[in-house]
Symmetry: C2
Subunit: 265 residues, 2 copies
Amino acid sequence: VDNRPIGVFDSGFGGLSVLQSLVAEFPNEQFIYLGDTARIPYGVKSPATVAKYLKQNLEFLMTLKCKTVVVACNTASAVLKSETFAIPVIGVIEPGAEAAVATTQNKSIGVIATKGTVNSKAYVTAIHTLDTSITVHQNAGPLLVPLVEENWVDDPITNLIIYRYVAPLLSKGIDTLVLGCTHYPFLLPAIEKVTTGKVNIVRSGPAVAQSLRQTLAGADAAAGASQKPAPTRLLTTDDSSTYIEMARRLTVGLDLAKPELVEII
Amino acid sequence: VDNRPIGVFDSGFGGLSVLQSLVAEFPNEQFIYLGDTARIPYGVKSPATVAKYLKQNLEFLMTLKCKTVVVACNTASAVLKSETFAIPVIGVIEPGAEAAVATTQNKSIGVIATKGTVNSKAYVTAIHTLDTSITVHQNAGPLLVPLVEENWVDDPITNLIIYRYVAPLLSKGIDTLVLGCTHYPFLLPAIEKVTTGKVNIVRSGPAVAQSLRQTLAGADAAAGASQKPAPTRLLTTDDSSTYIEMARRLTVGLDLAKPELVEII
């Protein structure tokens, strides 16, 4: 039994979609959410820069006594070397790849993600590590994060844009679509309008929840059944009103404390 | 006569639209362009953070012996205290406001910009400093920068999005529209499809060229008529391939040197 908190990290607030899954799955765990909003977005930055920022953020979360950290950011997960940290650190890419491989029947998987994640080929590599016979089709969707931030989530313009990004993957015959950016689950209803039930959609939240359960069980580190967590602490590195407002809008139903500004470097 | 270079600074590559205007207007001047791509975008960050980054970037350009710097970024211009620097520093907001005030006939001006610029009310303040009787209508267009970066500049989806952002301003009866973000001139043909010649469009590039001419004349600091500038140096703080590729695409016709990676902090 280990009642210390679990850190959830993202460059911004997309990771809140992962937090929602984790809070639902682990009602006794205390979570701390860190958004590195001063340096958002990571998706267009070089791997070396992202790796530097990730290390700084993880070290900061360790000072808050986190027993483990979920990196709820695909760009950062793509450069994560988890063995270099003193606590278990779980990215979203391997769990998402495992879920996709377990789901596909026809061995044709689509991935939609930011340009950075697409260029890193992180999902392609992770899927081929599990099964080299699977074909992976990728497409970048740079407008999707801004659409979530604009809150045009139920909007004909958004449907058109998603159609343009997803249709080329559907035409390749995929039966499984990985949402390779933690913002995208907020667009799930619009994405389902385009996929019309024909493909299985893999989200990071449910996939990483399974990995987290194994990690906690392996280390006997789950919180006690009697722990009643406080509201999730919401830490940001910049006090941007735009993002705080967005976080409130995206996290309806999540019990979040008042945002706190923290200094990482 | 002063043959030292002129710095042009932006958080990313939107400022290249300003550089294009300046190169055309000042054929004897040597320009150096700095894009702080490691910390892009500035539009969602707090004023204190943006001011800190701006100071660091300006100090860096001074080490390169720039005789003056044009801040080709609205977010950074909004927090610029030009009197605190040892060389003349010109933002884009006052020149844009002056051009708009000189253009409007019916004293109703529209401004389209990032959320950060809209929230700062920088154009409202600058316009009212010149003429309190003018009404200023603002609207934020968060999807426009990503659309430029996606290169969907001649696209029905882009026309729909611009219509949604600009139509509310047109319905207020504006006769002048300020493009309050240096990315937006790359969307000018699409914007003109929506405004259909009914409003005057004010861009930062031509507006700031006029201010720069006055600054150089006032200090007798124009380059000699015989100076033949080398290609503009293109400095970035991150070696992101996404942005370098975008810079190449946006700057057709500009004589740019090979991008150089620089370290600011």
